[in-house]
């Protein structure tokens, strides 16, 4: 089973749902709401009329225009984060029916085909909630800086063209480069737990996305100059050895990135790096 298939492992069920979708129906959106950081969570339900091609974002737009719950209570519009609306930016990631994914690409026909079917929306649980379905993913980006997930080209003179890469290497790196920093792998990871205190982020698990990005740049002709520094971070507390091999990350990755292969590859680099350090440092 490829990662892409694994991601949509219930794709058959969703295809079936699409076939039996009833035109002109209304479905219930059960949404976990929160007024701000530290505020209590509460559930509110909304009845939303479904049109052809409705997705979660279009339904949230309808709720924003008609913020009345099923009990007839007037409420505030539901807040969410979104940007590209075509599953390449990762901003609208949320927990839909208990599983993390992007809401823009989540078709209502696949999740709630019949009149009165319920879709639950929750914010991601591993990041602090800003409001309602909007979370602060700063820790995710902080962890990318921990492994210096970039190519060092700054200097006082032109360094000329970069080194040539083989076709195989390009193919391998292309798959890794598709990461959009959405946070699905972190949400589904049992080893990546929520850390409220920003001071403690650097000691907590770095996450599959950062491990995979470290591999992407370690394999780059110029990027490998920072390999030693990346590996130093990855063999410290919160690094590669926090991984528990549950392999949920690769199953939920919407881009089908071979995250578990990256974890194995970085595991190998860590073995070599630590032995090298033992004898040379």
């Amino acid at each position: 089973m490829s990662e892409a298939e694994a991601y949509s492992y219930d794709a058959e069920m969703r295809k079936e749902n699409r076939k039996k979708a009833v035109a002109g129906r209304s479905v219930i959106f059960k949404i976990k709401r929160c007024d701000g950081p530290g505020k209590p969570m509460r559930w509110e339900s909304f009845k939303v009329p479904i049109t052809d091609g409705s997705n979660v974002i279009s339904s949230l737009n309808w709720i924003a225009a008609n913020p009345t719950t099923v009990d007839g209570q007037q409420t505030t519009p539901v807040v969410w984060d979104s940007n590209c609306l075509e599953e390449v930016c990762g901003a609208c990631t949320m927990v839909i029916n208990g599983r993390v994914r992007q809401s823009c690409s989540c078709l209502i026909d696949e999740y709630a085909p019949l009149e009165g079917d319920v879709i639950t929306l929750e914010p991601m649980t591993k990041f602090p909630v800003v409001r309602d379905l909007w979370v602060n993913r700063d820790r995710l980006f902080n962890n990318l800086t921990r492994v210096k997930a970039w190519v060092p080209i700054d200097g006082t003179y032109s360094m000329g063209p970069g080194p040539k890469a083989t076709h195989d290497l390009q193919q391998m790196r292309y798959a890794l480069s598709e990461c959009m920093s959405c946070g699905c792998c972190l949400e589904a990871c049992p080893q990546f737990v929520k850390v409220e205190d920003e001071e403690k982020w650097d000691n907590a698990f770095i996450g599959a996305h950062a491990i995979s990005q470290a591999r992407l740049f370690n394999e780059h002709g110029t990027g490998k100059r920072l390999k030693g520094e990346r590996m130093d971070e990855l063999i410290s507390e919160g690094g590669i050895s926090e991984c528990g091999n549950a392999q949920n990350c690769v199953k939920v990755c919407p881009k089908g990135i071979p995250l578990t292969e990256s974890i194995g590859a970085i595991g190998r680099s860590a073995t070599v790096h630590s032995i090298k350090k033992f004898f040379t440092k």
């Binding site: 694994a6 927990v95 208990g98 599983r99 589904a188 049992p190 080893q191 737990v193 001071e199 403690k200 650097d202 000691n203 063999i235 410290s236 507390e237 690094g239 050895s241 991984c243 528990g244 091999n245 549950a246 392999q247 949920n248 199953k251 939920v252 071979p258 578990t260 292969e261 974890i263 194995g264 590859a265 970085i266 595991g267 190998r268 680099s269 860590a270 073995t271 070599v272 630590s274």
Partner: protein, 280 residues
């Protein structure tokens, strides 16, 4: 900013890799040897015909032979202490990892996630079982054995059968409980070892590609199935062993008739008397 200067932080990677390593060497290697020895209670009777005694008698003798061999090993206490320290280290750090993780099996019902959760539960059941096993049979906590029978390495089969059956007279209620506990305990440990060996492949970076992880998975599953069979026949073998019969075999009181065929008997006697004449 928080620092990584504490003792555990500075040696974080080394400690984690040692935790992984100790699971394979010495603990995993010992598990394989231990199950090989113990399962002789089931297959040790295979050469009973050559010895002219019964299957069970020969199995008991074979097991006793193995136990005596182990007890005669030089520096046995050093080997034991190495194992105890390794197991304690593996378990203490294992508990720390369990406490620092969260479980999301209800949302993400994947096979890998299930094995991840099971690895943690089998570890916790396993260490509880190992402690009971070593405490009662090696450290002499016979008060924790139903019937308070003591285990002796000179009567290894019979006294162990009594320890897990609850008495020397056969099963008691508590004995049945201990037998079931042994069955669950060894099953948990075999799974923990086989699955741990699979994840160690990724941890150490031996299995990088998806294909290699899959192939290594088959190897570990095969090894696990073999060890599971050995573990189960060991427990079933001792749980169904008759105390008196085992004791007789250990005392050299065979239940089988030990007579040589007529012709052979005559030859043996003649040969012996000839030798006596020549030697005299």
């Amino acid at each position: 900013m928080s620092t990584k200067d504490g003792l555990l932080q500075r040696h974080h990677f080394l400690l984690r890799r040692l935790q992984s390593l100790t699971g394979i060497v010495p603990i995993g290697v010992f598990l394989i040897m231990h199950l090989t020895t113990n399962s002789t209670i089931a297959w040790g009777g295979a050469n009973s015909r050559a010895h002219g005694d019964g299957w069970v008698d020969r199995a008991v003798s074979t097991f006793q032979h193995e136990v005596s061999f182990i007890n005669d090993m030089p520096l046995l206490l050093l080997i034991e202490i190495t194992l105890w320290v390794s197991i304690a280290f593996h378990a203490i750090f294992g508990f720390m990892y369990v406490l620092s993780s969260s479980n999301n099996m209800t949302s993400y019902k994947y096979g890998g996630n299930f094995r991840y959760v099971l690895q943690r539960w089998t570890g916790m059941l396993g260490i509880f079982f190992i402690f009971y096993h070593i405490a009662t049979l090696r450290w002499g906590w016979s008060w924790a054995i139903p019937g308070q029978t003591e285990w002796s390495h000179e009567f290894a089969s019979s006294t162990f059968a009594a320890a897990i059956q609850g008495s020397t007279e056969g099963y008691t209620g508590l004995g049945l409980l201990v037998s079931v506990f042994y069955f669950l305990g060894v099953s948990a440990l075999v799974f923990h070892f086989a699955n741990g060996l699979w994840t160690a492949g990724i941890t150490w970076g031996l299995t990088v590609s998806r294909g290699s992880q899959k192939r290594w998975g088959y190897v570990c599953a095969g090894l696990g199935a073999g060890l599971m069979a050995m573990a189960w026949v060991s427990v079933i073998g001792f749980a169904t062993l008759d105390y008196d019969r085992a004791l007789d075999a250990e005392m050299g009181r065979s239940h089988a008739e030990q007579t040589l065929p007529e012709q052979q008997h005559k030859e043996t006697v003649t040969q012996a008397s000839n030798e006596e004449h020549n030697g005299g």
